[in-house]
């Protein structure tokens, strides 16, 4: 039976922008349909239109029928009825969707009492039952708790339970796991799959992650620029994409599967770097900074940390051990990946290396020079900056909003070199060219650049200083897959041309495998496993590494096995 039938849906904004152009899709009971696309593809707008949540003053065409009733143009009363009894929605950020001042119990029982007219006791019993269904450990206690006491993953389960209070026929999930760690994502997906099966619901699952869609959904609809590009069986679309756009999307999506073409390419690129005697290809410090610049010792690793530790002391709370005894080493021109989930200490490690945080204990050496202590003089500060540069996670925040791209790079150049204005400007254009940007971007402020362009500017800015080591802290996490692929290509090319040493921090194993020859895995501030990336992915030794790898969605995903491993890992964690 068809639950949701969207046919020929168009949506125009008053300013003439067409957000959706002839969208058609359908969802049956007990079926999961994936809506896949990059940002701006119109996937969220499509999903919201099912609940009548349209942008202001938008004009629509076509039809959206939910459980046999037309949604477009329906009166408010009917829309409310649909939202109360027919369909529910789960959003990306659970924390933004829940009132922080009210308890979980309030959140859960409100709709039950007000919409279904249940008594307080009945509503409470039902809420406990639902919290149980989404596998929260202690439902009775949770009812009295506030959202801030919950982790992101637990809160998303509350949101799922909340969406199920009305026993919807259709559940719309808008990127419900994007803000979560991979292992948490696997748990949430398990809960969703269970509930769909036991309630025979239809599910419309929106995601940018093609791997996830292929592993969870029966059918997928691929969207781009407000149009449906491809529609078909989930695994077929993933394995043999037909539309040109889907082919590109599949190619750009990093994967951890061994033997993939794109992987071979990245790894061989990495090996070429290792064998091409990168020392001679380094931008010459002598020529760029004048004769007074220190000569760099030739031997030894480019970056080495020894027993680096950092503990945060919070007022009135237990101290947090962010990084404990971390020792890493990167050879000249090498790339080391640091993988871990949120709170694993990987960002703190990066911030210590670039000097934004001071280590409690341990030792950092870059190109053979001591870089542990905070620089005191201007010269020390500049020397530290020349030894290591960083590209930050969010390109929307790491560029000064008032400064144009060219100016940002020029500032960095002028601080570190004695170039005249004209020379500096030429150099800026060279650097922009290096990251695939053109002269016109030099005069653009960050606001007018796209996410990928901004991140390229950030990379060019870091390279302006010609650092020994480049730290990339989740530098591609905020980008769409195709943009991410482009940025990663830029990095690979720069590494090949200049022999740059890279410390690549990411939560995404697939991305790390594309960039790095060596990888370390961090958990709770400790490095639990290290080795060649291919070996790590192929034959993980530590149970946590195995859990991380198995949590990454793929078409032949076995969720039960992942859950079993998660419990073993939790067990070993409590024992250790």
């Amino acid at each position: 039976m068809t639950l949701l039938d969207i046919s020929g849906l168009t949506l125009d904004l008053p300013n003439g922008n067409r957000l959706l152009d002839g969208i058609s899709l359908d969802v049956s009971a007990g079926e999961t349909v994936g809506l896949v696309g990059e940002s701006g593809s119109g996937k969220s707008v499509t999903a919201r239109s099912v609940l009548g949540l349209l942008p202001d003053r938008a004009t629509t065409g076509g039809s959206v029928r939910l459980d046999g009733r037309e949604v477009l143009g329906a009166p408010m009363g009917e829309l409310l009825d649909l939202r109360r009894h027919r369909a529910s929605m789960i959003f990306q950020d659970p924390r933004a969707g829940i009132n922080p001042m009210r308890t979980i119990g309030d959140h859960m029982t409100e709709t039950l009492r007000l919409c279904e007219g249940k008594s307080t006791a009945e509503a409470r019993a039902r809420a406990i039952e639902l919290l149980h269904a989404v596998r929260l450990p202690r439902p009775e206690d949770h009812l009295r708790q506030y959202p801030h006491e919950f982790s992101g993953g637990m809160l998303q389960r509350v949101m799922i339970a909340g969406a199920l209070t009305s026993s919807p026929r259709l559940l719309i999930c808008d990127e419900p796991t994007t803000a979560l760690d991979v292992t948490t994502q696997a748990e949430i997906i398990t809960v969703l799959a269970e509930q769909r099966a036991s309630r025979d619901m239809g599910m419309l699952f929106i995601t940018h992650d093609l791997n996830l869609a292929a592993s969870l959904c029966d059918r997928v609809v691929v969207m781009s620029g407000g149009r449906v590009e491809e529609h078909g069986d989930a695994r077929r679309v993933f394995r043999e994409p037909r539309a040109e756009y889907t082919k590109r999307l599949v190619a750009a999506t990093p994967t951890i599967a061994v033997g993939e073409a794109s992987v071979g390419r990245a790894v061989s690129a990495g090996e070429r770097i290792e064998t091409s005697a990168p020392d001679t290809r380094l931008p010459s410090a002598q020529s760029r900074y004048g004769a007074g610049a220190p000569t760099r010792p030739a031997a030894g690793p480019m970056l080495a940390t020894l027993g680096l530790s950092k503990t945060y002391h919070r007022r009135g709370k237990e101290p947090v051990r962010a990084v404990a005894d971390a020792s890493i080493e990167i050879a000249r021109g090498g790339a080391l990946g640091v993988v871990g989930e949120s709170g694993s200490g990987k960002s703190t490690l990066a911030r210590m290396i670039v000097g934004l945080e001071q280590a409690d204990a341990g030792d950092i050496r870059i190109a053979g020079r001591e870089r542990t202590a905070a620089p005191r003089t201007r010269d020390e500060r500049l020397a530290h900056a020349r030894s290591v540069q960083m590209v930050f996670q969010d390109p929307y925040l790491s560029l000064d909003p008032r400064i144009t791209a060219g100016r940002a790079i020029e500032d960095a150049l002028r601080l570190h070199t004695r170039l005249a204005s004209a020379e500096a400007r030429t150099r800026v254009l060279e650097l922009l060219d290096l990251v695939g940007l053109a002269e016109q971007h030099a005069n653009a402020r960050p606001r007018t650049l796209s996410g990928g362009q901004r991140q390229r500017v950030a990379i060019a800015r870091a390279l302006a200083i010609a650092p020994d080591v480049l730290v990339m802290d989740e530098a591609t996490s905020a980008l769409d897959v195709s943009v991410q692929a482009q940025v990663l290509d830029v990095v690979a090319e720069i590494r090949r041309e200049r022999g740059l040493t890279v410390l690549f921090i990411s939560h995404d194993l697939a991305v790390v495998r594309r960039v790095c020859e060596e990888t370390v895995v961090m958990k709770d501030g400790e490095i639990v496993e290290r080795g060649r990336t291919v070996r790590l992915l192929d034959a993980p030794e530590h149970p946590y590494t195995r859990l991380l790898i198995d949590s990454v969605p793929r078409p032949d995903w076995d969720l039960d096995a992942v859950m079993a491993e998660a419990s073993i890992d939790a067990l070993s964690a409590t024992q250790g």
Binding site: G436, R447, L449, A462, I465
Partner: protein
């Protein structure tokens, strides 16, 4: 492997040109007229502001005296035009100096934090506890009548308003990743604070200062009304209201009403402009 060339089109700034409200435009016009009148007073005013016309005391509006004359037979329009000079100059000085003082202290407190922030915060609290007018009267009592002492006193009294705002904005800005990025590049703290963070918060602080202008204008006029600010016979709106008190008993409202209405109009106009400016800037603050 080649770098894929993007469809590298620089996006248009998504800032839709907002239609300015009519009140905003009218207010802007009022302020422009007032400023021009103050600057070109000798060229515009029909009479010398101190010139006495013995044939007309408390005269009503007439072709000779458009707004009539006061109890000494002086042309009210001319006195209003010359009075605009002190009426606008005083607040301008107060706003400029309180902004400079407030921004510097706020930047110091917000950027350094710690004990500097705590100490400055307590000092601001103390100044906040006294109304600006009271501080101004105190200054007059200590240093004598005239415009200089009250302007200095009010500059100090208004500085905390600016400083508080600047401190909050700077403290928020300090934790943004772009500041960390500057640090990683090797820029010094003072450079980042003065050359990069300060310009990013200036628009909002500027809008707040514009609002202060209206309050200061009203308070300085009040001071002159009390006979503590601008001294007779200099033309000043506040002093004019003071001098016109005697006439009110005799039923001559115009000499008091004209400057009073002028104060109200300018204060309202400044507030409208200030609000609109802070709305606009607030809408497009650094992302």
């Amino acid at each position: 492997m080649t770098t894929p060339t993007l469809a590298v089109k620089v996006l248009r700034a998504p800032r839709a040109r907002r239609r300015s409200s009519t009140t905003y435009l009218i207010s802007l016009g009022v302020l422009a007229v007032m400023t021009l009148a103050a600057v070109f007073a000798p060229l515009i005013a029909p009479y010398d502001p101190d010139q006495v016309d013995f044939s007309a005391f408390y005269a009503g509006p007439s072709p000779e005296h458009w707004l009539g004359t006061d109890g000494l037979g002086r042309d009210i329009l001319s006195r209003m035009i010359f009075g605009a000079r002190t009426a606008l100059l005083g607040p301008l000085l107060v706003v400029v100096s309180s902004t400079i003082l407030g921004v510097l202290l706020g930047l110091l407190a917000g950027w350094r934090g710690g004990w500097i922030d705590a100490v400055l915060g307590r000092i601001f609290d103390v100044i906040f506890a006294f109304p600006a007018l009271l501080i101004a009267i105190l200054a007059v009592a200590l240093f004598g009548k005239g415009l200089v002492a009250p302007v200095i006193a009010m500059s100090i009294a208004y500085a905390p308003f600016v400083a508080r705002l600047t401190r909050t904005l700077v403290a928020a800005e300090r934790n943004r990743p772009y500041v960390a990025a500057y640090r990683v590049q090797g820029f010094g703290g003072a450079w980042i604070a003065l050359r990069r963070v300060l310009p990013n918060v200036t628009p909002i602080v500027g809008a707040q200062s514009t609002l202060n202008f209206g309050y200061v204008l009203a308070e300085l006029a009040g001071l002159s009304f009390l006979g503590l600010g601008v001294q007779a016979p200099t033309a000043d709106w506040g002093a004019m209201i003071n001098e016109a008190q005697a006439g009110l008993i005799g039923g001559y409202f115009l000499p008091a009403l004209v400057p009073a209405v002028a104060v109200v109009i300018v204060v309202v106009a400044v507030n409208v402009v200030g609000e609109e400016l802070s709305d606009r800037i607030g809408g497009g603050t650094p992302a």
